[in-house]
């Protein structure tokens, strides 16, 4: 085992250790431990038998294995008070292991420590100092501080160095006692013994960090510190302190640390250490780690004080050299340091960009992480293209725990510095293809918004996404964006010719196949399937031959188990059957989404599920159906004839917002009936009512209220005096070209027989050119299964004069 004649081993201790180690199971080990602890306890109770230190040592071993040993605390106290050195030694060790300042027993050793601090034997003093510095409570520190100060001044080096670190502990525990040690700390700097010097430097660092005034006073020591350092750096070989050619690297690093603290924010002090730092930086041998440790500390100091620019450049260059070092530890710390200064010394760090980017390929995960951080910080408008190539390459092979961070860093960089829209879209698509599973939720709406804004690229984008979809439908974010685009720009996809990509023939069936594959795949999340279903529906107005296929897909999903999908399918079915005349309008091309507009955050108006908008997460199809007839009366042109009457649809986004916000307020997640019922149009009493229509038992009256010089609100009220109920009751309106029209949602769509309930609907008009106001209203309903339609023209409005003013 050991060849050196160390002190004789503790046989009882080693026997016990052997016994424990030979236990084959955890259970067996516990048995042995229990027996041993019982024996130990018995021994504690016995009188002094010369084996006490071995006994306590056994207990400490058991404690290290993780078993409870608090019953040994008092024994530690007793042992510390023993006159025997061997017992004191183990006693103090036990105290450091089993006691901390929170235990009551720790107070009991204060007296022993006090006595041992002035023991005639320095090794006993040493035990007390070590223990005090390890676990001294605030009271003990206060009590013994004067004694420590005495030892700092008048003892041998062996004791002084320990007393210095004791003082450090005391000052950390009781800040006010710092003042006590300032004089002693100052004078210790003239000691020659390295241990004492090191302790003194540590103590001064602690005093300066705690008290800015003390720091001011210690600034005067800078020349002394510089002298000491010079001695270490330029002196010849010193066997006692040499480590691979560096003389006492530990002391050098500590002094450099103190210099850093003293030179920070102070020109004078920084100036006086400038030459020394340059000397250390150039003279220190960097072939071994220990030399690099000193260089590293030097660099940190140079960068933290007010050093002159030449020295700063020297420091950054050292870091640059570190980046090329074979030792990955050195590469790692180089990058952490460069990261800290990439803001303040950006240009200096940029010079090493190539090396940093190479570190993206390092084997070590920590180095890779650092390289990623730095690379992202170094991206600028001038290097965006080349940097992005490297970052995308990195993304394709980077460790999984870094992917989310890399993806979001890439998105940020792309957003800030994208040289073109096409580049931006390509980059985002690339990320989705490579790491779609790791991107944040808002990536999907962000990318969609970007795509809608790049109108010249719609054809290119949809082709690219279609191709990506064919290759891989597992990346949900990519699939969602692809479905959305195919739905939205399906017409461009089918047209085939696209300037930016190779022409490829995509048939209607191809496109529908792709969407259906997504719909049916077990890899698709519910949200993704929602995207796919809506996209399929949208295609019904963009294709010509295969609408029936879409109809059947939609009707199949009408009985889907997933409630969300079922809801949509049912609504889309309704769009096919009852509201077919509106389908084109409902599904028409989206306007460009403005960033940060309400339409943007609410997602698409055609009813995609947007995960992060809970209040708007209601049955999206329905409110739209209620709103759309109000706005999109474009096809009335055909129906009503009369070329001078065109409509003024409000922007789809506007309408959606007002509709959604109204509905959201009242009915978050409510069902159709609530939505229909919950919307209360404002009553316009006591405005005069005029009968505008009366046929087949159905009457329509209207009243008006002037809102402004050009604004007018018309309320239409329908009633059914016949004997049969009417369903699917809707009103549509058209006005002269220059008049703006906005129809609010009707109160309902059923008119029960014998006038038991009415339907009201408000129409908001704005007549800026003050033309002659006329309105054509078309009435539609279903009576006993048969649809019915009629039209009436309203030429005069109550409350306005003949000219409609």
């Amino acid at each position: 085992m050991h060849t050196h004649t160390a002190m004789s081993p503790s046989v009882p201790l080693q026997e016990m250790i052997r016994a424990i180690r030979s236990a084959r199971t955890q259970c067996e080990e516990r048995g042995v431990i229990q027996r041993e602890c019982a024996a130990i306890r018995a021994q504690f109770r016995q009188a002094d038998n010369g084996g006490r230190s071995h006994n306590l040592a056994k207990l400490l071993y058991v404690h290290m294995l993780g078993y409870p040993a608090h019953f040994g605390q008092m024994e530690c106290v007793r042992m510390i008070a023993s006159p025997r050195y061997s017992e004191k030694r183990v006693g103090y060790l036990g105290a450091m292991m089993l006691l901390d300042e929170k235990q009551d027993a720790s107070l009991l050793i204060t007296n022993s420590i006090k006595n041992d601090l002035s023991h005639s034997n320095q090794y006993v003093q040493s035990l007390a100092l070590c223990t005090l510095a390890c676990m001294g409570s605030a009271e003990m520190c206060r009590d013994l501080a004067p004694e420590i100060d005495r030892l700092l001044r008048a003892s041998n080096s062996y004791i002084k160095k320990k007393a210095a670190l004791c003082a450090v502990h005391i000052v950390r525990k009781v800040h006010e006692l710092g003042e006590l040690f300032v004089p002693a700390a100052r004078s210790l700097l003239s000691e020659k013994n390295h241990g004492v010097l090191h302790g003194a430097v540590v103590l001064i660092i602690e005093l300066c960090e705690q008290n800015p005034e003390t720091l001011e006073r210690f600034r005067k020591t800078v020349p002394d510190l510089v002298q000491i350092m010079k001695g270490l750096v330029l002196s010849g070989y010193s066997p006692e302190h040499d480590v691979a050619g560096i003389s006492d690297p530990f002391l050098q690093v500590r002094i450099l640390r103190l210099l850093r603290i003293l030179g920070r924010n102070n020109e004078g002090a920084s100036d006086s250490m400038n030459d020394l730092l340059a000397q250390v930086a150039t003279n220190t041998d960097s072939t071994k780690t220990v030399g690099n440790a000193v260089l590293y500390e030097t660099v940190l100091t140079v960068l933290d004080i007010k050093s002159e620019s030449g020295l700063r450049v020297l420091a950054v260059n050292i870091l640059g050299r570190f980046l090329l070092n074979n030792d990955r530890n050195i590469r790692y710390i180089a990058m952490t340091s460069l990261q800290k200064i990439v803001g303040t010394d950006h240009n200096a760090v940029q010079r090493h960009r190539g090396t940093i980017v190479d570190c993206l390929k390092d084997q070590d995960a920590s180095v890779k992480r650092r390289a990623l951080e730095l690379s992202l910080a170094l991206v600028s408008a001038s290097n965006i293209r080349s940097m992005m190539k490297e970052l995308l390459l990195f993304l394709s092979s980077c460790p999984p725990e870094l992917r989310a961070h890399a993806a979001s860093g890439i998105f940020n960089a792309a957003e800030r510095y994208a040289p073109s829209q096409r580049w931006h879209i390509d980059t985002m698509l690339h990320v989705l293809i490579t790491a779609g599973g790791d991107v944040r939720d808002e990536t999907v709406p962000n990318l969609i918004q970007l795509i809608t804004n790049a109108s010249e690229l719609h054809c290119y984008t949809v082709h690219k996404l279609y191709r990506a979809l064919l290759l891989d439908i597992s990346q949900q974010s990519l699939v969602q964006v692809a479905c959305w685009c195919i739905g939205e720009y399906g017409d461009l996809l089918l047209k085939g010719d696209c300037q930016e990509t190779e022409p490829v023939q995509v048939t209607e069936d191809d496109a529908l196949d792709a969407l259906e594959t997504v719909l049916q795949s077990h890899m698709s999340s519910p949200a993704t399937r929602g995207f796919a279903l809506t996209a399929t529906m949208k295609l019904s107005t963009r294709i010509t031959d295969n609408v029936d296929r879409i109809r059947s897909i939609v009707s199949i999903y009408g009985s889907c188990i997933d409630v969300e999908l079922q809801q949509r399918a049912v609504e889309y079915n309704a769009l096919f059957r009852k509201y077919d005349h509106m389908r084109a309008a409902v599904l028409e091309r989206m306007p460009v989404i403005e960033k940060n507009s309400p339409g943007h955050t609410n997602g698409e108006s055609t009813g995609e599920a947007v995960k992060d908008v809970p209040t708007a997460k209601m049955k999206q199809g329905e409110p739209l159906l209620l709103q759309q007839p109000a706005n999109q009366v474009c096809d009335l042109l055909d129906l009503l004839g009369g070329s001078e009457e065109t409509l003024q649809p409000g922007p789809a986004v506007d309408c959606l917002v007002s509709g959604l916000s109204v509905h959201a307020a009242g009915t978050a997640g409510g069902d159709l009936l609530d939505l229909l019922g919950g919307f209360e149009p404002a009553e316009l009493s006591p405005a005069p009512q005029v009968l505008a229509y009366d046929k087949g038992g159905v009457t329509l009256t209207l009243s008006c209220e002037k809102q402004s010089d050009t604004g007018l609100t018309v309320t239409l009220t329908a009633s059914n005096s016949s004997d049969s109920d009417l369903s699917s009751f809707t009103l549509q309106a058209a006005v002269p070209k220059s008049v703006q029209l906005h129809m609010k949602a009707p109160s309902g769509d059923s008119l029960p027989a014998r006038g038991t309930a009415k339907v009201t609907q408000m129409v908001v008009l704005n007549n800026p050119n003050k033309v002659n106001l006329k309105m054509r209203v078309r009435v539609s309903y279903t009576r006993q299964g048969s649809p019915f339609q009629d039209t009436v023209q309203i030429d005069s409005f109550p409350g306005l004069d003949a000219a409609g003013q």
Partner: protein, 157 residues
């Protein structure tokens, strides 16, 4: 209260603790948790990784010597490279004392491993930068122990 070093742990490749030195006061529960965390983190490291880890607000410097992992936690602003030298210095001291030190030496003479450590570090700081000085102190303390024991085992008149 900050110390340059927060704790030093030695453990085997199976995660068995061989030495624990805590430089700031901590409850038993906290210590147990830290030991669990450190052993898990360090043992999971790939062979050719760098020797530095981040854990909470600390840097953890670790190095494997034969079958033992040395794990030293330092403050965030401390110098990692010199921390590696601290670990290495301790290993050298153990090696000098035990002569070609191996894990078994530290298991069967754990208290001596602590005594040596306490001559090298105090309160989370280096107390002696000279290898020879530390060795001499340990030898002298051992001698003192022997002498006292001899003295005590002599029959009294």
């Amino acid at each position: 209260m900050t110390h340059s070093m927060r704790f030093l742990l030695l453990f085997s490749r199976q995660g068995k603790l061989r030495l624990q030195k805590w430089f700031t006061p901590m409850s038993e529960r906290e210590k147990k948790k830290i030991i669990r965390d450190m052993t898990t983190m360090v043992l999971a490291r790939q062979p050719r990784s760098c020797n530095f880890l981040h854990w909470k607000d600390l840097k953890v410097i670790y190095k494997r010597y034969a079958s033992l992992y040395f794990c030293l936690a330092i403050e965030n602003q401390e110098n990692e490279l010199i921390a590696l030298e601290v670990i290495h210095r301790y290993v050298e001291l153990l090696d000098k004392y035990f002569g070609n030190v191996c894990e078994l030496d530290i298991i069967f003479n754990f208290e001596k491993a602590y005594f040596i450590l306490d001559e090298f570090l105090i309160g989370g700081e280096i107390q002696e930068t000279s290898k020879q000085m530390v060795n001499r102190s340990i030898e002298a303390s051992d001698m003192l122990q022997e002498t006292m024991e001899e003295y005590m085992s002599k029959p009294a008149f």
